[in-house]
Amino acid sequence: MRPERPLLPPSTPPLPPQQTEEAAGRASVDVPDRLPDPVPSPILRHSPASSTRRSRSLRSVMANSPSVTFAEDIRSGSKAESSASSFENFQFRLAGSMTGTPAGVARVSTRRSASERAGSQRDLRDEDARFVYINDADHTNAPPARFPDNGIHTTKYSILTFVPRNLYEQFHRVAYVYFLILAALNQVPQLGVFSPVASILPLAFVLGVTAVKDAYEDWRRHRSDKTENNRTASVLVGGVFRPKRWKEIQVGEVVRVVANETLPCDMVLLSTSDPTGVAYVQTINLDGESNLKTRYAKQETMPTPPEALAGIIKCEKPNRNIYGFLATVDLDGRGAVSLGPSNIVLRGCEIKNTTWAIGVAVYTGRDTKVMLNNSGAPSKRSRLETHMNRETIVLTVVLVLLCSIVTLLAGIWLGDHSDELAVIPYFRKKDFSSSNADGTYKWYGAGPQVVFTFMMAVIQFQVMIPIALFISMELSRVGQAYFMVQDKHMFDGKRQAKFQCRALNINEDLGQIKYVFSDKTGTLTENQMEFRCASVHGGDFSDTDGGGGDGHSVTGEDGVVLRPKTAVKTDPKLMALLKDGAGEKAVRARDFFLTLATCNTIVPIVVDTPDPAARLLEYQGESPDEQALVYAAAAYGYTLVERTSGHIIVDVFGTRQRYDVLGLHEFDSDRKRMSVIVGCPDKTVKLFVKGADSSMFGVIDKSMNSDVVQATEKHLHSYSSIGLRTLVIGMRELSQTEFQEWQIAYEKASTSLLGRGNLLRGVATNIERNLRLLGASGIEDKLQDGVPEAIEKLRQAGIKVWVLTGDKQETAISIGYSCKLLTRDMTQIVINSHSRESCRKILDDAVSMVNKLRSFSTDPQAKMPLALIIDGNSLVYIFDTDREEKLFEVAKACDVVLCCRVAPLQKAGIVDLIKKRTSDMTLAIGDGANDVSMIQMADVGIGISGQEGRQAVMASDFAMGQFRFLVPLLLVHGHWNYQRMGYMILYNFYRNATFVFVLFWYVLYTGFTLTTAITEWSSVLYSVIYTAVPTIVVAILDKDLSRRTLLKYPQLYGAGQREENYNLRLFIFIMLDSIWQSLAIFFIPYLAYRKSVIDGASLGDLWTLSVVILVNIHLAMDVIRWNWITHAAIWGSIAATWICVMIIDSIPIMPGFWAIYKMMGTGLFWALLLAVTVVAMIPHFVAKAFREYFTPNDIQIAREMEKSQDLHDATHPEVQMSTVARA
């Protein structure tokens, strides 16, 4: 099935960007065995089956690119394996030095890359393929094919499946299984502690609340599915395009899409309005990238009118890889033509700048890539919840202990009374009425009776494990998330981007972060590049003071003025040189800007303006650096006005020049450069190259003019030290033979089906040599607003900020200074070595230095601030050897760590380094696909919804618009959430334990028979109704400190880092309190009513009300901020309990009928209620008063300051709060 293809005509579209990237992963693996399915952690993935072969080919790849670095052995495991696996995920983005990358950057999510890439590497075997008959949906869908229609169903449930599926999902929570088992046990007649309904009720209630929540979400999905499915598209039916509903589109049908329309399914382009078959698509719905991508219809399918088209497309089975596609098309036996990712347009994308496009549906409905990618973020578990498990185990032990005590005592009691049991009126085991003298009632022998007692005790005391806690936590997290999303301080006005909570179960982790790992480009910086400096032929042109800032307008063919959208300040000297200069320098300068204008993948787009005589020229491209360079070239008179697949038109100072694109070598992370071969108007063939300095200086002919090379190197150094991103530009004129040789090799490589990427890279490396150095450019990536302040605040909060960047060391350091990460008084430890040995030595030195510094100063205040700067190469060596421990030691001692030139996978490795060795919480923040692994590795992953697409956001737990929002997120919301959630968990344990202890004390006075005075209804309603609402309200609304205070004193964040609000000590204290309170609740009424006429129901009502009032008062005492909602919840809860008790006591057939009304008529009841409340609360109150006054923590003092500030504000409203002096 190898396609026979003619030699590429010069106008053949250049290989689409992704293909090379795709191919990079293919190495020379022909048919690897099936790779394992994607697993959540990218670094853990190995593919043993193909590892050896793969690594061999890798080595050869690596040999060519010594500067490529990646963690060979981040995880233990054989080297071959790990290098293979890291290679699969190897997505390199050298932020500082690369530009020419439409898609050279890693675009494929690390989570799913490996197997899918492998999938597209395979030779398509018939059994692995899907056959699509163009224009013949019936044939295509004939059995056994049966492809799904284009309807989508994102809903989880249907009406029929809702109940079983939802229950199945909910019972994944072990606690619910526990409660279910207990409820089931309760149905055994001998064990019936509660009535059947009552025993199921709490579980049914929590399941019900969750189910309602799920059902509502699902209903919303259902609604959006419906609108989506009923959209119409134009489909070829019987030779005419007719509107058809999306859900009815079938594989094999030909669909026509016009400009600005959304694509209904994944389809292979057949033809477009563009004569060369280009279609531009916007993939914002798919990956969030707003720039246009080019897709191509094959030349073979272009000429045939769609209704006459017939043929077979043989393509891969549906997979999730949105950047890969492997297929062939065979038009009526004319031979197979290969199709790649650039020939397919995906559902959800929009057609732009293309009048129409026609394609054939290949994947529909749930098979489309967008649907296959539609999975949620991986779920993480919060630290608090993990800790909570420890306490749950303690409680389980207590529960078993209580049950054992009851069982033991019950056994002893039965033994003592064994000879009386037959006759004592309250037991009467013997059946006297029966003729059978041995007949007994409800008696199974002493042994089983004891066992039953134990089981009944477990059922009776089951709420020791708080059933409502899980649902309460979920609900409060939803509430907390609501307030985080609504916070106006975290709204990015510029991008209209709200804060997003993607993971709903780790809100409280935000309050305990100790390490922040941040990406640089796009996270600390805007990722909006601005051309600042040019070094041309050894001359530095960075003085733009006298230059114009309005850009350079050109007049279009129709006389309309085209103005580049972004103006760039120019250097008048350089401008003059370009315009009127002569000599070599001027020639080189012109070539320099010609390179900038041509050597890229930017698409110029003309946008109408209100002024009919002027239009805006907008450069669309995937790399902001390239955009900046092209805008700069335009400002200097080299305006790119048109680009098709075959040629480029550049307006050079008003003259249009046409350059034929003969070949294009995409950027890739090994070469770290891109090049273009153009046929110039003067019939010469030139190779223009731009790339990272490290890679460019290796291919530049230094002998040509060494002084220029030296000067440029100097300029590069100075550019990067002021934080600019640098690129080196070079060129070479190709001789006829050279060109022909290249052309043959290029054709061969680009038509090869296997190892295409490798071959192409070889071709590129072959031609990109002996270059003439033209110069270098410096691009500024501005810091985002408020980054230095944010970093300062985070550092004050005791959070260590690590910056991981692909930039060069100089750039990284200078950015470090400008964002106040590095300060002048810091001692920098630089680990930057090129060999394993030197790296080891430097690290050892660093360790001893750190130790020395530490021993010098025991006083923490006098500590010398340290900064560690380490580069990717050294990291490889360190991770490779067993030096990780040492690195950790050094890194821990440093206040700041800056890692430069790191690969994406290394980022995850660094996060893991910390995660493995400390219990400190880590947070990773980034904006690009290269940060995905790090975001998923860290305890909390934050995505910046920025310029680089949505990959990071999709993988993140929280997403926001700006780095500086990290401050309110962590310091304010994180602090609050942690404090609230910590308290809520403790309180829930306390609340249920108190109740269980009250039940337990009573059991001791009932012959150990698990009778309760409290009605079973109150028992089951206790934790779900009587006391649930206030804790949720408090967990959502309470604030220990105001936003103002928390931001003013970032050190207050330390409370979370030190786990001050939830720890074993607090748990023990609150449990002791719980025992004391239960003693008070039980024994005060007991002593008062001993030897009285009191009946069980009345005393039970008193106990019920006491417990509920007490736990609510306990909560009330700990509430810090009382607003009307809190008041309503707490007092309302008590009132609701009272009403419930009254309702229960109004049912005549309940044994306790009317008890509460009788009780309320006696003075003793009220006196006891008051006494119980006071006695029970005294220890808590005393401890609280003592602790807060005599051993105050920071939060307490800040609260007091806040209070006095409020008073001050009230009396002097005009005075600012800054009057509170800091000591």
Partner: protein, 335 residues
């Protein structure tokens, strides 16, 4: 001002709507445990509790209680169980008591049974509230085993162990040899009589089995009028309990001689339970019980002590509230 806020109307704005609620800025009160509040809270409790304690203690002291345990002396020393189980024996027993203080009417007559687990799980469940209430529900005796149905299968009304074990000692009281009426009307809760026990439900098959648990019921009187049963059916919370037997609606003077003729029918001997006759006046705090008064006095005293203690602590270790120099990071610098 944010330009987008101005522009916001023309394009769809995502900007969260600002309100005091969404920004978590609702007006709120932030109480602090200042020394003043702590001391006044304790003082207030102390000042409130001591008088209540004194009042209830005096109320309890006012109450006159006559207690007489008769179960041991009203049976022969040997074979107590045999004696009590034999329906033929004469179980009359006369007790004489001297009233220490004047008892004002109404004087309540209780019987107190000790170590009788009326709250035993087996026991409390052995009843049918529906049967007690509704005539139609006579057959609902599922929970009443072993006293659910008679030998011939007819439902026992009222069924269950509780009713079966109905107390059947009787007391005849005379003051200074003069018989005095013990009013047995109105000893049960009015609510029970009206709504819990049916006025059309009559006892049947009751105490007809091989073993008699206690009192028999007059089958011509509806359950709602069987006040002894109603009192008995309201099962006690604790293993030693009192139940109202009747009311004496006359004052008894100090040093009056009380003669109580007891029909000692009820068998507590098989499980070693005690039986006590109690005559008691009443007050707002119920029966005689010093505990609540003592408890209040103790709590009040403790709170006053705590108030003083805190005053002393505050004086000896004063701390300025809200002084930033106490913040941990500032303290480090000072040290």
């Amino acid at each position: 001002m944010d330009p987008f806020e101005v522009e916001g109307d023309s394009r769809k704005s995502n900007k969260p709507k600002y309100s005091k609620f969404t920004q978590q800025e609702l007006p709120a009160c932030k109480p602090l445990l200042t020394p003043g509040i702590v001391v006044s809270a304790f003082s207030l409790i102390g000042i409130l509790f001591v008088p209540i304690g004194l009042a209830s203690l005096s109320a309890s002291q006012e109450i006159v209680e006559l207690i007489d345990r008769y179960d041991t002396s009203c049976v022969p020393m040997t074979d107590k169980v045999g004696f009590i189980q034999n329906s033929k024996t004469d179980k009359t027993c006369t007790r004489t008591l001297t009233v220490p203080k004047q008892m004002k009417s109404p004087i309540y007559v209780y019987y107190q049974i000790g170590d009788f687990y009326q709250n035993h799980r087996r026991y409390v469940k052995s009843r049918s509230d529906k049967q007690l209430r509704y005539k139609e529900a006579a057959g609902l005796t599922k929970n009443c085993e072993p006293e659910g149905n008679s030998a011939d299968g007819a439902p026992i009304i009222p069924c269950g162990l509780i009713a079966w074990s109905l107390f059947n000692d009787t007391y005849t009281i005379s003051v200074n040899k003069k018989a005095i009426e013990v009013n047995k009307k109105g000893i049960a809760w009015q609510s029970d009589k009206n709504n819990k026990f049916g006025s059309d439900v009559y006892p049947s098959n009751f105490q007809k089995g091989n073993i008699i648990g206690g009192a028999k019921l007059n089958e011509s009187i509806p359950l709602s009028e069987q006040e002894d049963l109603i009192v008995w059916m309201r099962t006690a919370a604790l293993p030693t309990f009192r139940k109202l037997y009747g009311r004496i609606e006359a004052d008894i003077m100090a040093n009056d001689q009380l003669t109580v003729v007891i029909q000692n029918n009820y068998n507590t001997y098989s499980f070693g339970g005690s039986k006590v006759l109690v005559l008691s006046t009443t007050s707002w705090i119920g029966g005689k019980n010093n505990f609540i008064g003592v408890a209040y006095l103790t709590i009040g005293g403790l709170c006053l002590f705590l108030a003083v203690g805190f005053i002393v602590l505050y004086m000896f270790k004063p701390r300025a509230l809200g002084d930033p120099s106490y913040l941990s990071w500032n303290r480090d610098i000072l040290d």
